[in-house]
Amino acid sequence: MSPSLLARYLGRRLALLVTTLWGVVTIVFLLIKAIPGDEAQAAAGVTATPAQVEVVRQRLGLDESIVQQYLAYLGRLLHGDLGTSIFTFQPVLGDLQQLIPYTIELVGLAMVINLTCGVPLGVWAAARHRTRVDNSVRLAAIFCGALPTFWLAMIAQTLIGRKLGAVPISGVSTLGVEVPRRTGFVTVDSLLAGDLTAFSDALAHLVLPAAVLAIPFMSFVIRVVRGSMITALEADHVTAARAKGARERTVLLQHGLRNAIAPVSTLIGLQVGWMMGGAVMVETVFSRPGFGSYLTQAVAHKDTFAVIGMVLVVGVIVTFVGLAVDLVQLAADPRVRLLETRRASA
């Protein structure tokens, strides 16, 4: 792809990004409006007097027309104002900035586990298509997908954490080994502080929740890798590679997996968002601070602004991940490049 076409593609893709974000915001706005009950009352809190509620109503512009409210909502968002939590009395955005690194750490490690186990298993099953190995891996994948995350989390916490004492059962770090907060990521901060004890402590807190979170997602990865590899391996270029004398390993990776990058990366992109959903349950069970446990608390306290704000934040994250996935595919698959070149020059 030539630089000018690439620029045009990026321009188009950014325009799409803006539209998507606008779509997410609008969906969220409609969600708020669809909520029965008085928003002003909710924002002012249950103990507020009618007069106080009126003040809040005017401050939030809830007495205006819906279009004006929509525009005002967009305006507030542009200033990073996601509202104030009625539970923590803090701006939702601030709370999230505080908490989201924990979740990103969890989802990040879960994704690593997910891919390092799921991709090889999928490749293995595809390489042994229609054999006992293939069948077992397929069934194992379906089984992984059928495990309820929250239940698995509880069982793993009890058996591996409590009974075996192999890993800590809750939180993000042991009391007393905390390191000064810089990035918010415990692992990164402990490395920045040069504190290896703190680092391994943080990892120990992370590994079990991440593994539990990864398991149901592995199910999809295995199945998609297996499926697209089987398709890829049926192609003639695979036979051609074997006819050249290539090793089976080379054939699998260079002519199978290499060709399966597009569907697999699409799935991975979607999974980032879904994993944030799974984190809701895992963080609750393991009492980890983060996006998920904040969300459950918000639900428990009917903290509308917090919940809405978080739906929005996930939407934004997912949208940017989608962009990243598209760029990966653009780099990895000339067919995608061709398609985009055609579109850009059309």
Partner: protein, 349 residues
């Protein structure tokens, strides 16, 4: 063709072919295939697709393997390199005297590409769409331990020789940026870049227009002269064969029915199937209407007993339906037929 009789065939094979007048003297064989049997598992049990097939290719020799669609030509080609792990292959495949069927996986792999090059049937799908042309041609050398720089140099050289303009730059292109004819050349390059002793080209020209067809064939032709490799050209186009091959082997329903020097076979086909095939090809030296063979080709799964061709054969007698004809030497050809045409009879009509 029974197992015990297989021995005769082998001895028949190793016999040095009698050079017909004007025929070039063929040196010792690179490839000797005898009693090749290939079966595939299907839902209805294993089906023997290739059922006792013989083939000999000498160094520098061009052998054409012809047969109707579905006769098992591609299956044979893949079986010769033991490419399909689902297939059960038996018989003997001697490459320079070594039986490929006795080799380990690694030994076999060392010979693929390096000793036998295979050019697959469809140039549109033989190239991996997500990898560059260069990496795919180079792969044929890299997997045999050739260094990156050396592999690149030889790949460019080969592509250049095959008439790809600006080969060094085109190495970075992707298959979709190439036309059909160009892809065909790339496929050929992949098959020959490691200078194999034997090239098996599976219908290298079907997808191409006549002009490119001729170009590709003459490329292969010049390679035979340049690097002295043997060639098996698989095709169902007898017209193509006449100008290219030294010898022809005719396949019907997974069995060889006739093989011999090309001129001999064209002038006096012995097997009624060969005669029928020739009659259905337009020829400059003969007028008259084209006569396609009546009936439809036998399917390997439901191959008729005896001579598989007998339901479509005008010369069939009662023994054709029951006794499988063994190949016999008639003149310079080996013919598997109970009632072959004699030289006096006018063959193709």
């Amino acid at each position: 063709m029974s197992r015990t009789k297989g021995l005769d065939i082998v001895s028949l094979n190793t016999e040095v072919p009698v050079p017909a007048p004007g025929e070039r003297v063929t040196p010792r064989p690179v490839l000797e295939v005898s009693d090749l049997r290939v079966s595939y598992p299907t839902v209805a049990g294993p089906v023997e697709i290739v059922s006792g097939f013989d083939l000999t290719v000498a160094k520098g020799e061009r052998v054409a393997l012809v047969g109707e669609s579905g006769s098992g030509k591609s299956v044979t080609a893949r079986a010769l390199l033991r490419l399909d792990h689902r297939a059960t292959v038996s018989g003997r495949i001697l490459l320079d005297g070594t039986d490929l069927l006795t080799l380990s996986g690694a030994e076999m792999r060392a010979r693929r590409g390096r000793r036998i090059g295979l050019m697959l049937q469809d140039p549109m799908t033989t190239l991996n769409p997500v990898r560059t042309i260069g990496s795919q041609v180079m792969e044929a050398l890299r997997v045999h331990g050739v260094g990156r720089a050396e592999a690149r140099r030889r790949s460019v050289e080969t592509l250049d020789m095959l008439g790809i303009p600006d080969a060094a730059r085109r190495m970075r292109s992707y298959p979709h940026e190439f036309s059909g004819g160009m892809r065909q050349r790339v496929c050929l390059a992949m098959a020959i870049v490691a200078h194999p002793d034997l090239l098996i080209a599976d219908e290298p020209t079907t997808a191409l227009d006549v002009r490119v067809q001729e170009q590709v064939l003459s490329l292969i032709d010049s390679l035979v002269d340049e690097i002295g490799m043997g060639v098996v050209l698989i095709t169902h186009d007898l017209g193509l064969v006449a100008g290219f091959a030294d010898r022809v082997s005719v396949m019907y329903a997974g069995r060889g029915v006739e093989r011999g020097p090309v001129r001999e076979l064209y002038r006096t086909p012995r097997h009624p199937y060969t005669a029928g095939l020739l009659a259905s090809v337009p020829r400059v030296d003969r007028d008259g209407a084209l006569a396609p063979i009546a009936g439809s080709p036998a399917q390997p799964a439901s191959r008729p007993g005896g001579c598989a061709f007998h339901p479509r054969c005008a010369r069939a007698e009662s023994d054709c339906a029951t006794v499988l004809p063994e190949p016999r030497r008639i003149g310079a050809a080996d013919v598997a037929c109970h009632h072959p045409l004699t030289a006096a009879e006018e063959g193709p009509r």
